[in-house]
């Protein structure tokens, strides 16, 4: 069913506002129109393309990572509020997939989520204590994984519970709950 253009543009404007990482492809599917139509809508609405939106977010203020060196994060962090939430992006390339079926290796998705969960922690040193994870559907070569992390509980013993959901085109592909410990004084005392 076609949605009238005006209504479609309202949906598009709102969706990109709420989910800045939505691709044109996914938006096209949701509205049941061609990708070209979405592109034209974006131009009319003044919404920049995905790459520009990400760049803009990355340039905007977000907290610097404390618990890791920037290059130790798997994926690119594009939003971070220490002890609260974070977003990272990882595009699956040839090094990330099994040779036989071009499916991303489990530990790559785990690494993105885990390093984001650690990066969120407002401490010099943070370590993962435990995690429960689920690979919801296989991720393939070339797909762009967007991990959204949220602190869902702060515990007395200096640990945080972090919920991470990784999506490809708005669809959840991985989810995990990570218990992460902060080590205030730099010592490891787990």
């Amino acid at each position: 069913m076609r949605i009238p253009k005006k209504e479609r543009q309202r949906i598009i404007a709102q969706s990109f506002q709420e989910e800045p990482f939505l691709t044109d492809e996914e938006m096209a599917k949701r509205c049941n129109v061609s990708i070209q139509t979405i592109r034209l809508d974006r131009v009319e609405l003044g919404i920049p393309e995905l790459r520009e939106r990400i760049k803009h977010m990355a340039e905007n203020h977000f907290d610097p990572v404390k618990s890791l060196l920037q290059e130790e994060v798997i994926g690119e962090i594009v939003d971070l509020q220490l002890d609260q939430s974070g977003v990272s992006i990882l595009e699956i390339n040839k090094e990330h997939v099994f040779a036989r079926n071009q499916i991303a290796r489990g530990h790559i998705l785990f690494a993105q989520a885990n390093s984001l969960a650690v990066a969120i922690v407002d401490a010099e040193v943070a370590l993962t204590g435990s995690a429960g994870i689920r690979f919801v559907r296989p991720v393939r070569l070339g797909e762009k994984c967007i991990a959204h992390a949220k602190v869902i509980r702060k515990q007395i013993n200096n640990s945080l519970q972090v919920d991470v959901k990784t999506k490809v085109n708005g669809e959840i592909v991985f989810q995990g709950i990570f218990d992460v410990y902060r080590l205030e004084d730099g010592r490891v005392s787990m």
Copy 2:
């Protein structure tokens, strides 16, 4: 308390039989003697050193990995009984640790355990569905992680539950339960 030599040698012979990956260092601790003493005991008992024991195990018959290419396994598989059990060894090197504190990154231990859990599966294609994991104590640069995997349940829907315990010098550093799916026909239908 010193154990008499005869009793000590009995313990040593039995321990190396049951745990071929025990280091002389750990054995020395257990018997409360010097590493040199353990080395001499081994010579007297005709027990080869760790490296030789590992080489010997690796040369012995064990099932070839089916679900992964050999080079896709993280760590070196030294024992494998398809759909039953497996052992792999990973020595933590500079690429595996955080720069700041020389502690192994979580996803490295996860990757060793996960790829062993997948390697166990007697199928051309196997994927991890979910996992519950625990990092028991931090692992440091240079430590040798020995992962022991055991199939603890075979389910009707073609999935296996694999228990993995990773040890350093006999001490558990990581443990996880992995639900792994076999995909008989090579299709991915999770």
